[in-house]
């Protein structure tokens, strides 16, 4: 047991060194922008997976929190001159608070109808930001003033700096997931995901646990929103509340392995690499290619390997060592 843990720690340390050194070795700005996309979507996937994966509350409305995070920090920065680093936390808090009434409504439904209710709330928020121009620039959106190299305002000349911010976010998300996974809350979440009524029957306070995990998940998703807006220097309701964000958050987790620590990360690596290859092969000429391929991958995973890539790797590993894996 101790040996295994040391070996895992060594693997993680080696991985961390590689990831930290990566922008020093690979300096192509195109490659780094792809790495940033992977880190960002892996982080969003990790945030989604906490609630969607462990507790099986399958939200397709996480764009709501991505957008709230993006708008909170941008409004604070443009109207009040507050640094997006503070705005990022503020956005997280706003998202957390918003998740309370949204969750109160959506958790009244279960299964697929919960999913539909989350889609509707994210769409409703987008409509609100489109309609009310007074506080958020309406449909045109706005560009973020470019201050050159201003690390305190989360603006950097070097693309690698954004890479490290995204890497930091992903690390935070993974550590939080790891801590939750091995705490009593992790077990409660899995119990709710397996059978909510049975979990309640043995004394799990399901409404409270679901509310809490929704708050954590929303908080993290909002951080990604702030980061993304700072990274592309632009915000409008269609990007900030894009349904594609909600879709990709769920997709990377399911393809990678729903309810596992590393699932969203592997899922993002696979999907984003596929999408990059497709784009370099076909160009951006044909609309719809990327999501066509994503949906085919998703269908294949659901029909043949519902445990995702993590499940496939675990089975392969089991066959390889021909003994039970140490991980429970």
């Amino acid at each position: 047991m101790g040996l295994i843990r040391t070996r895992n720690a060594l693997w993680i340390a080696a991985g961390a060194v590689v990831l930290i050194a990566l922008p020093l070795v690979v300096t192509s700005s195109f490659a780094i922008s792809i790495f940033i996309r992977i880190l960002l979507f892996a982080f969003i996937g990790v945030a989604w997976n906490l609630m969607g994966g462990y507790a099986k509350q399958l939200s397709l409305g996480h764009a709501a929190y991505f957008g709230l995070g993006a708008y909170t920090s941008t409004i604070l920065q443009i109207d009040f001159g507050i640094s997006p680093w503070i705005g990022m936390i503020a956005g997280g808090v706003v998202a957390m608070l918003a998740s309370l009434p949204i969750g109160w409504l959506c958790f009244r439904l279960r299964g697929p109808y919960f999913t539909i209710a989350t889609i509707a709330t994210a769409q409703a928020l987008m409509l609100i930001f489109l309609k009310f121009r007074d506080f958020a620039w309406g449909a045109e959106g706005t560009t973020i003033p470019n201050l050159g190299n201003a690390p305190l305002m989360m603006q950097f000349e070097a693309k690698a700096a954004y890479y490290y911010v995204a890497l930091g976010l992903l690390a935070v998300g993974l550590v939080i997931t790891w801590l939750i996974e091995r705490s009593w809350m992790g077990y409660y979440l899995v119990a709710i995901g397996e059978d909510e009524d049975a979990a309640e029957a043995i004394g799990v306070n399901a409404p409270k646990i679901k509310r809490d995990i929704y708050m954590i998940s929303s908080f993290l998703t909002a951080l990604a929103g702030t980061f993304y807006t700072q990274y592309i220097y632009f915000i409008d309701p269609a990007t900030a509340f894009s349904f594609n964000i909600s879709i990709e958050a769920a997709l990377v987790s399911i393809v990678g392995g729903i309810g596992t620590l590393w699932g969203p990360v592997i899922g993002t690596v696979l999907l984003e690499t596929t999408s990059t290859l497709l784009q370099s092969w076909l160009g951006n000429s044909i609309a719809g290619v990327q999501l066509t391929v994503y949906s085919l991958i998703l269908m294949a995973v659901i029909l043949w390997r519902p445990t995702g890539l993590m499940g496939m790797m675990r089975e392969a590993w089991q066959r390889y060592v021909s003994r039970k894996p140490a991980r429970a």
Partner: protein
């Protein structure tokens, strides 16, 4: 004053008939097979494109093309049930939700690749015709769509209540295990349910074509309406879905009239949120 209101109510009622065809399909699948078909809107889209191409290539009137779209979509429904949905039926929500969701994404993006995002319209002799009744204006194409939609809904009700197969479907909806013990083959019943639901979606597509444009995302408009109507009308309840759809059409139309042209969806979402807040089991009572 009353004429503006009455006109808005009529407009809403007429489009509500189309919403009803889509929602009845969703609620039928939910009631019998116990899954939510996220791709229902995309089947409306397929119906619209079939009608569009038949009209464009062979000059077939969209209403006549009903006799093509409905059987074609029925067969697609049987195939979808037999080769896809059957494999994910079980206690686990995730595969069921994301299988039909993936199907929706796939069909939408295939349409985008094949037909581009352009709007396609069919102009018929009656597209611009209208009855004038007092001060009221009733477009012929929408009236025909509404009447046919009501006939199809009524036919479905008769089918469910008088034929053996229809009774078997209702039995399977009430209790799958007991129905199986009574000699009902669940997969066959599910195939028919999917077939009928998709045929209704296809019919909606054909009926829309004389006054509405086809484009890859068109299904999303209707499926969102249908989901709200199905919650509002109590999950799995055909009459509930019909009544709720008509109400939603009217509410949307009044919203457009009195709040603004782009506020139809806001009204719909408001209705969904109010339903969830105050009557999450829908107007018909107990859900689950």
């Amino acid at each position: 004053m009353w004429e503006t209101v009455a006109q808005a109510v009529i407009n809403g009622l007429l489009i509500g008939g189309i919403y009803a065809l889509v929602s009845i399909g969703v609620t039928l699948i939910f009631g019998v097979v116990k899954i939510v078909n996220f791709a229902q809107g995309e089947f409306v889209m397929i119906g619209m494109y079939i009608s569009f191409f038949l009209a464009n290539q062979f000059g077939v009137d969209p209403l006549v093309s009903l006799v093509v779209t409905m059987p074609v979509l029925f067969v697609i429904g049987v195939l979808v049930q037999h080769f896809l949905i059957r494999r994910v039926l079980g206690p686990n929500d995730m595969p069921q939700i994301f299988l039909t969701f993936a199907l929706s994404l796939l069909l939408l993006n295939l349409a985008l690749m094949l037909f581009s995002a352009n709007y396609r319209t069919v102009h018929t002799s009656y597209s611009d015709e209208a009855f004038h009744l007092g001060g009221l204006y009733i477009p012929v194409a929408k009236l025909i769509a509404f009447v046919v939609a009501m006939i199809l809904s009524g036919a479905l009700w008769v089918f469910l209540h008088t034929t053996d197969l229809g009774k078997a479907m209702r039995a399977a909806a009430q209790n799958r295990d007991v129905a199986t013990l009574m000699g009902i083959n669940p997969n066959r019943v599910f195939c028919v349910a999917l077939g009928i639901a998709l045929a209704l979606a296809g019919a909606a597509g054909s009926l829309l074509m004389p006054f509405y444009s086809a484009y890859p995302f068109v299904g999303q408009v209707f499926v969102l309406m249908a989901f709200v109507a199905v919650v509002l009308g109590t999950l799995g309840n055909v009459i509930g879905a019909l009544v709720a759809s008509l109400m939603m059409g009217i509410a949307e139309s009044l919203g457009i009239q009195y709040i603004g042209a782009d506020s139809g969806l806001i009204v719909v979402f408001a209705m969904l949120l109010l339903t969830l807040a105050f009557k999450p089991t829908g107007l018909g009572g107990k859900a689950r």
